[in-house]
Symmetry: C2
Subunit: 338 residues, 2 copies
């Protein structure tokens, strides 16, 4: 027995959904349309089992339906999570993703930028602290966390608001004298705004604070000395610490324990990123959570939206606070207050 | 001023290195040659600044110099590490990597297999528990951890030896009554051999042991009941536990603490995988470490070696034990013995 179904076309989908052909095309290509249109088209695609043919599309529009992702590595959990959600966002739109994860190999990164300029990939999403990377202004590129030029959109968490939120949380949790610890790139970047936000939050809530700022390459041991210098009679002068990343918070908590200080009883610690040691487990510390799925969606949307007359230079997405065992629990706080 | 350098060719490299043209070709394409030949060719490539032109090669050999990686997700740390090292191994050979990380989306995974069959990618490296994936025998495919057919090579850690090593370590560390805890896929796979290896190790070292085996989808709480049932007068009857993954070990250690048991004082715990919470930090628990960089290299070598007359059906790579705070330290052990 042979089946004699004819293969459904985009026209069939338009007819089934009761929309214009252009609307179907937009939905298929991930270009935003009204929500009700999108739902009708998606329902029709499902009902007719319409298969988007990326290759045929590629030939017609000289598109590759391929996007490259530049990211330092996929072992560091925050990067691993970004890779996962960007990959999903692209696959949902029938785009393929080339991964270039090289711990800042300038030559490799530059090669992918050249591919984008030669239309061998449709565009690039890049998180890179490579100061040598050359990107022409008309290259389809969306940056994460660090601006790569005035014509290139940059997507990041609202890092300033996150720093502010950390200060406010520490104040809410009863802290009065807090510290900010930071180690990272000395290049201009969005995560650096966490410091300014934290200072702002401390000032508005009347917290006294100190800062210890190191650059990549500085010895971690300086944090240990800094903390040791602030211990008198076994007591740390800070009752709250905000660390610029969960990675740093993790190391600082180990150091505090080595110095016979209890977390969160003696000092509460808040990190930044929202890292879990394994998928679905609890946060590794109390933290300001970056909206990774939303960052991924925004990057892909900005990269693939061709009809956008002007792309926004900087998009900041909202962060949230999450309890992760290194601050006082809301319950225990209640008991302490009552 | 114009520079008049001529672009170096593969012939120039062969002349500079004093080797045959075919040897240069093999090195450029990642096909193994004698170590001294490889070093000479690489030195000549560096000296002449010879640029491998993947696109030109692609046209001549109808190759895409692109390999697809199928992997459940990149958020789970073991997968994130595999992605990183496979990406590096491919980029070193001037191959690009398409990432398909979809938590077992059958349709997406099948699409990449079809691409390989149509020569739209040169091959696939796949770690998948998708029981519906159809792979023809002649598809260039290298599997990780789970055999995908008799003609498809499978690369894995030596899981049997790893299980055995865990039992031997627990015996060395003074344990006499141990448990094996496992949750995972019920499909045939290499990691399942950890159980048999552990049993073998227990028998050869005279350890008494019990097993608790759950399948994906079973409630984790069954482990908690199992452990509770083995507590009498606040004391756990097991003095050592081997968990099938570091992920499970992490959850079990939390449960043990909830049950007022100290790790490693009351019970020592060994996991499997070699996970660190962040790059460069200590292991999350004492563990059997999988050789991820070596697994990545082996997968890429097997996939790209075209002249291999017969590909090995199963390659098992050696594992090692690493201390991670949840077993007695060698030092403390020494003190206890003396």
């Amino acid at each position: 027995m042979k089946s004699e179904h004819s293969v459904p076309t985009m026209k069939d989908v338009a007819k089934e959904a009761g929309v214009a052909l252009g609307t179907v095309s937009k939905v298929v290509n991930g270009i935003p349309v009204g929500e009700s249109y999108r739902l009708r088209v998606e329902e029709a695609i499902k009902k007719l089992n319409y298969q988007v043919n990326s290759y045929a599309q590629g030939l017609k529009a000289s598109k590759t339906y391929t996007v490259a992702l530049l990211i330092p590595n996929t072992e560091e959990p925050f990067f691993a999570s970004l890779v996962y959600h960007i990959n999903l966002a692209l696959l949902r739109r029938k785009y393929r993703m080339l991964l270039c994860s090289t711990d800042f190999d300038s030559d490799q990164e530059q090669e992918y930028v050249t591919m984008a300029q030669q239309n061998k990939v449709d565009g690039i999403i890049g998180l890179t602290y490579n100061p040598h990377l050359q990107i022409e202004e008309n290259t389809p590129f969306v940056a994460i966390d660090r601006s790569m030029g005035t014509k290139i959109p940059c997507v990041a968490s609202d890092n300033f608001a996150g720093g502010q939120l950390a200060a406010e949380k520490l104040a809410d949790l009863g802290c009065t004298n807090v510290a900010f610890l930071r180690i990272g790139s000395s290049l201009d970047n969005e995560p650096n705004k966490r410091k300014a936000g934290f200072e702002n939050g401390c000032l508005s809530r009347g917290l006294s604070y100190e800062m210890k700022i190191l650059n990549d390459g500085d010895a971690y041991e300086e944090f240990e000395s800094f903390l040791s210098e602030h211990i008198q009679d076994g007591k740390l002068s800070f009752d709250g610490i905000f660390c610029v990343t969960d990675r740093l918070a993790y190391l600082i908590i180990k150091t505090l324990r080595k110095l016979n200080l209890r977390v969160p009883e003696d000092v509460q610690v808040i990190g930044f990123d929202g890292i879990r040691p394994f998928q679905g487990t609890e946060y590794i510390c109390s933290t300001i959570v970056q909206p990774v799925p939303e960052i991924a969606e925004m990057c892909v949307n900005l990269l693939l939206q061709e009809n956008l007359s002007s792309k926004p230079p900087l998009v900041c997405l909202p962060v949230t606070y999450a309890y992760g065992g290194t601050t006082r629990e809301p319950d225990s706080l209640f008991i302490r207050i009552s």
